[in-house]
């Protein structure tokens, strides 16, 4: 019935239902306040309409009333603040066991690369009920990855990685929009998120091009570019051994400690002098302009794959950390 006159967007992720409840709470409060103000104005307008037989009664104000109508609304607003903060924390904290997809945005298309191999353009196939993490960057201007049915959005920024995650709860095809204005065909930078049941997803995966995993491609590239001359994985070479580095703290030459996440690895490839690892010399050449965004993703996936599998690697479908709060 509402096909041509939709009123409420489909809720298709774990965050969507919570977000809807929060939105309804805010709407109820707003409607109550709006009705209150409108009703008072209408009441006063009728009751105190100018007449010859009565004059205005002068009233200075009331400290009590001022206090009440400052403190009470602020109390309700704190509830809104808390509800929004809890949801936001969950949205911004990807679970450890999520399937990773690398996303490169460019004017005006989305390039998506699954860890296991398949590569897609303007379409992302994901299985239902699994955590999926997107690691995103842009080749040119700022874009924004927006899936209304999942109630999630994250800007995609050149020169760094931003991440987002979701768990689809409903099989179906949903909008993917670019939400940050990015030039002429901004409104054409759209696609589909295809949520499939596990069997369908398996079938789709095996039918995809057998290009090998992203990390596999990254390893080949690592050899081709000659990275392995210095970054020897068996012995300590001129550059640090990268085994077990990803996701862990790294001691720098200047005394600081940073976590070796995607952004750190990216920076170390493009601007090696920015953060030199303690005990090493600043001798690595910059790869700025020599590797593409897609190749950076491959290298990062490879370096990530050098880590031993985490202890008790949970199955993704399980309820391990990062789950959204339960909606009441």
């Amino acid at each position: 019935m509402f096909d041509n006159f939709p009123f409420w967007p489909t809720s298709a992720s774990v965050h969507a239902r919570y977000e809807d409840w929060l939105f309804i709470f805010l709407t109820v409060v707003s409607v109550v306040m709006t009705v209150l103000i409108f009703a008072l104005i209408a009441l006063f307008a009728m009751k105190y309409r100018r007449r010859h037989d009565h004059e205005a009664t002068q009233i200075e104000g009331s400290l009590l009333l001022e206090t009440v109508w400052s403190v009470l609304p602020f109390g309700v607003m704190l509830l809104m603040f808390a509800g929004g903060a809890v949801l936001y924390f969950s949205m911004r904290t990807p679970p450890q066991n999520a399937d990773q997809v690398y996303v490169v945005a460019k004017q005006w298309m989305w390039k998506l690369q699954h860890m296991e191999g398949p590569r897609e353009i303007n379409q992302l196939h994901v299985p239902v009920d699994r955590n999926v993490e997107l690691i995103m960057t842009s080749q040119d201007v700022i874009h924004s990855f927006f899936v209304p049915e999942f109630r999630i959005k994250q800007d995609v920024i050149p020169g760094r990685y931003t991440t987002m995650w979701f768990r689809a709860t409903r099989v179906g095809t949903y909008h993917l929009f670019c939400a940050q204005f990015c030039g002429t065909m901004h409104s054409g930078m759209v696609g589909d998120i295809v949520v499939m049941d596990p069997h369908g997803y398996q079938a789709w995966m095996t039918n995809g091009q057998p290009s090998g995993g992203l990390a596999q491609t990254g390893m080949t590239l690592f050899q081709q570019l000659g990275c392995s001359t210095c970054h020897n994985m068996e012995t300590q070479g001129r550059g640090p051994n990268l085994r077990g580095v990803f996701g862990n703290p790294v001691q720098l030459e200047d005394g600081r400690t940073v976590v070796a996440d995607e952004n750190y690895v990216r920076e170390s490839i493009l601007f090696p002098a920015a953060k030199v690892v303690s005990g090493f010399k600043n001798i690595m050449p910059s790869w700025q302009g020599q590797v593409t965004e897609d190749q950076l993703d491959q290298l990062i996936a490879y370096i990530r794959s050098l880590n031993p599998a985490p202890e008790g690697a949970a199955t993704n479908a399980g309820a391990a950390g990062g789950n959204p709060p339960q909606s009441q």
Partner: protein, 544 residues
Amino acid sequence: MATTAVSSERANYLNAEYGIRSWLFTTDHKRIALLYLISITAMFFVGGFFALLIRLELLTPAGDLLTADTYNKAFSMHGQIMVFFFLVPSIPAVLGNFLVPMMVGAKDLAFPRINLLSWYLYIAGAGLYIWCMMSGGVDTGWTFYTPFSSLFSNTHVVEAAMAIFIAGFSTILTGLNFVVTVHRMRAPGMTWSRLPLFVWSHYAVSLIMLLATPVIAITLLLMVLERALNLGIFDASRGGDPVLFQHLFWFYSHPAVYIMILPSMGVVSEIIPCFSRKRIFGYSFVAMSSIAIAVIGFLVWAHHMFVAGISLYSALVFSFLSYLVAVPSAIKVFNWTATMYKGSISFSTPMLYALGFIGLFTIGGLTGLFLACLGVDVHVHDTYFVIAHFHYVMVGGAVLGYLGGIHFWWPKIAGRMYPEGWGRLAAVVVFIGFNLTFFPQFIVGYLGMPRRYWQYPAEYQVYNVLSTAGASILAVGYLLPIIYLLWSLRYGKVASENPWQATGLEWRTASPPPTFNFDETPEVTWEAYEYDTMPLPEEVTLER
């Protein structure tokens, strides 16, 4: 009949001198206000023309009427013109210029020649902008986000940014003039606690103008330098940070929202007591809430960036502060409403606009709470929900306040009454047209329609058709006042000194006022809004 009255009129600021030079070289704040009135009205209709193009394109889901590039330019120039060349100067430069000196009992602003300079700067900026528009325009959105603006757009970004840069100095000078005038030029007896709330809100807004506008000037300059000289400040491939631009931009542009709304709140604080015949409820709370908005407004800018990759904890802080800044706005709404309690209310045109303001600003303010809410903002950010929200504040709030103020002080400005029946009709048409235009955008935004889309999925069409229909009604509501206000200049009933029996000092001098405002310096011995001492105005009739 009415025309013969003019010749027998006493000397006033309009008939003091004749000829184009007497206007272009005037230092009279009232004449400068009129120069501004004419120029910003012209810019309003240019911006409105782009709004028309946008609404026509969005009538159908396919991109068919305009090309994608033309559409992108249309919404960019709509935003830039409306924000920088209409809304920011609207009430301060026209009504503020005209009224602040009179309200404090002064002959003019503190620096009359700087006041004229500010108008010339505005004209230089607006002229450069029009030239930029004529030579092809700009397509960056009003926000100029890097690196799109600095490295990718091949439109006239530099000209547009420099036009806004120049116009910014006009804002700074106006703010400076108001601050000094309010501090130094108050008439004897006009203490701070007797200042009209219109002056309080202009004082608050002047502080923002002085402190925030230089930041946008620097930001745009950096962006222009980056574009021209390839500095690399915002270029990630050279170690710069594109998101830094957003911090700098919103550090001005969020306070700028309050530059646009605070003066309207000042107007409403004058109109409601006058047409309720009552002292305003909670004078000091209304006055101090303006200052609170100005101060806290500087600390909320990153709520525009919750999905731009800022840290989790800074997002928390900015969300909290954004809720805090909502409190003083709520205080104002409650006080205006309470002012009507036990009043003696009449529904003249300015009052209709003021009541419309309260209603629409309430909705605009409450939907701001949705955007301050982190988890909800992630979904509605950069969708039509945001467009609806800020049009409720900027048009429903700022523009309705502006129109209400123009009607309220028209007798003082022009010395003539506007036709009351037409005035009320236009107010109702604006209210209906506005709601029909922008309310559907809340729904289509929640459904997920992103802003700045030239083409869109077909399921969003119904709401866009409603919006476009509303916009055509709104356009009629805007054109009506132009016609009857111009008509009233010649045929309107001659206005008395104080047709509304209002309390401000501006009503204790002739309509239109003499060049130096008062025949002798007024001495204030009464509190603000002493409506119990004022007689009721003449019955407002619908006769023309």
